[in-house]
């Protein structure tokens, strides 16, 4: 991060907050206490990451506040809206209901990891732009992560299937018809590659 952007300013506080946190459970074999921090090692978008976290931290908060990957959005934080959808070991899940410690050793893929190394957008990202699949955009990262999985699962063959298997991603702007169109566009491109 070489230039100052809205995002670097907004996340700057979190950088300072993570400095100097050390695990408290240094005694081997001792029962964990409720104030322990725990080490968590996982792959995030292909990159090995080591974190030391309060056990209460969810994957969502670890991504946003500790790794500064703010593409994954916090909507309801209760597993009801789908804005926080990420892939863990290739499966779409809700990061707000997943403890980071329970993701130990797993591969987490977020919206930031979807584009190619050369910056070329994933067909689903491009399709959301082409089809105007959003208004405010807040649910969009979750919609796109869910949609990519929906196609890979083979649950995007019909409009009815897409509507059913995307029902865990709410869009309060009600861009649903455009989201459906985007998924159909990307589905055909994803299967062609």
């Amino acid at each position: 991060m070489t230039s100052i952007t809205r995002r670097t300013v907004l996340t700057g506080g979190a950088v300072l907050a993570t400095v100097g946190v050390e695990p408290l459970a240094a005694t081997p074999g001792a029962a964990p206490s409720t104030r322990d921090t725990v080490p968590v090692d996982c792959l995030v978008n292909g990159k090995p990451r080591h974190l030391t976290l309060d056990v209460r931290v969810t994957v969502l908060d670890a991504l946003r506040d500790h790794l500064h990957l703010t593409g994954t959005k916090k909507g309801c934080d209760q597993g009801q809206c789908g804005a926080c959808t990420v892939h863990i070991d290739g499966v779409r899940v809700l990061s707000c209901l997943t403890l980071a410690v329970a993701a130990q050793g797993k591969h987490i893929e977020t919206i930031e990891g979807l584009a190619g190394a050369d910056g070329k957008l994933h067909p689903m990202q491009q399709a959301f732009i082409d089809q105007d699949g959003f208004q405010c955009g807040y649910c969009t990262p979750g919609q796109i992560m869910s949609a990519v999985a929906c196609v890979r699962e083979g649950h995007a063959n019909t409009d009815a299937d897409i509507q059913e298997y995307m029902s865990g991603n709410l869009c309060r702007c009600a861009a649903y018809p455009k989201i459906l169109a985007a998924i159909k566009q990307a589905r055909d491109q994803m299967s062609a590659t």
């Binding site: 309060d54 056990v55 779409r92 899940v93 209901l97 997943t98 410690v101 329970a102 298997y165 865990g168």
Partner: protein, 341 residues
């Protein structure tokens, strides 16, 4: 969320040992097992569940996630995800009510996370249970009363309730499992045992904070659904306020073994209307040996809802549940089944 100690159990013995202190549904139980987390983490964030220790049993998944269909019936490993069971082609073919109850539950993401064992133990969606700012909730705060009885109770139970609690059991899979007479396999500090699914959840009995018959440190390892000629002609009909990703306002799991139009065997479970997973033996008895007509189905449905008690906003439920059961029975009768295996 309150602080807690986090432990991982890599084998069943360790799970049992670390799990000593799990309750029978009490919200203040000292220990909670973590599998998919979709109920536990949610209710810990809301400060409804307040464990001092959380024991992650995710490492036990390879041991307890098999799904098998054989001559004795269906084996569902309790740590299999809902999506794994919902997408299993043999489950859909041989036990359609089970597969449909899972396909129509929650969302794709939640089904990818939640395990079958955790799903049947999910907690009521009663808003007074989920919000600790309400003092009166006998399920959360024993002896404090029930805010729902005179409160907003549109989706509260009408069967199996008492003056202490009118919370509705919200699950779908459990309705299919109880209808199909499933067994529950358990592992705990005293080893393995199994119980009928119908004795897993307990009636309110004035003590609704006690929800199940699990022993301290015990986990569900599997469900077994016995074979039977009724399983293939089964379905799960779910009625809800929106067409997807919503809890039932009424639901029925039915299974039929017909000789022509005459009922040889029938299994009936009701969802969205009862305090706990609900099988209606009365409705089954009303149908056995009869020709399945709309009139016979209506008589069975009337028997199923006998004794229903409503509290104002949910006055609509008994009639909706009756019509749901009638439709489910007639739809099951009309299922075009291929050559029986």
């Amino acid at each position: 969320m309150r602080p807690f100690a986090f432990e991982r159990a890599g084998d069943p013995a360790r799970a049992s040992r670390l799990g000593l202190g799990t309750g029978q549904g009490q919200t203040d139980a000292a220990v909670q097992f973590l599998a998919g987390g979709t109920t536990l983490i949610d209710l810990m964030k809301l400060d409804v569940l307040r464990p001092r220790r959380v024991v992650d049993i995710g490492l036990l998944r390879p041991r307890y996630d098999a799904i098998q269909v054989g001559p004795n019936g269906l084996h569902l490993g309790a740590l299999a995800t809902m999506s794994k069971a919902a997408d299993h082609p043999l489950v859909a073919q041989e036990f359609p009510a089970i597969a449909q109850s899972l396909q129509l539950a929650a969302s794709a993401q939640l089904r990818n996370m939640a395990t079958l064992g955790g799903n049947v133990l999910q907690r009521t969606r009663c808003p007074y249970f989920r919000d600790p700012s309400w003092t009166a909730c006998n399920k959360r705060n024993p002896g404090s009363g029930c805010a729902a009885i005179r409160g907003f109770n549109r989706n509260h139970a009408v069967l199996g309730i008492d003056d202490s609690c009118i919370a509705q059991y919200p699950g779908d899979l459990a309705t299919a499992l109880i209808a199909l007479d499933a067994q529950v396999e358990l592992h705990g500090p005293q080893g393995a045992r199994h119980i009928p699914f119908s004795s897993l959840h307990v009636p309110a009995n004035g003590l609704p904070h006690i929800e199940n018959t699990l022993r301290s440190g015990e986990i569900i390892t599997a469900f077994h659904v016995p074979s039977g000629d009724w399983n293939r002609r089964s379905l799960y009909l779910k009625i809800r306020d929106r067409s997807s990703y919503e809890f039932a306002v009424a639901a029925a799991a039915v299974a039929l073994d017909l000789e022509g139009d005459k009922v040889r065997h029938v299994r009936i479970g009701l969802g969205g209307v009862a305090y706990r997973p609900w099988r209606s033996i009365d409705a089954e008895q009303a149908l056995i040996g009869k020709t399945l007509t709309e009139t016979a189905a209506e008589a069975a449905a009337t028997a199923a809802l006998k004794g229903a008690t409503t509290h104002g906003h949910n006055d609509y439920k008994p009639e909706l549940a009756r019509r749901t059961l009638v439709r489910a029975l007639l739809q099951a009768q009309a299922l075009p089944l291929g050559a029986q295996a």
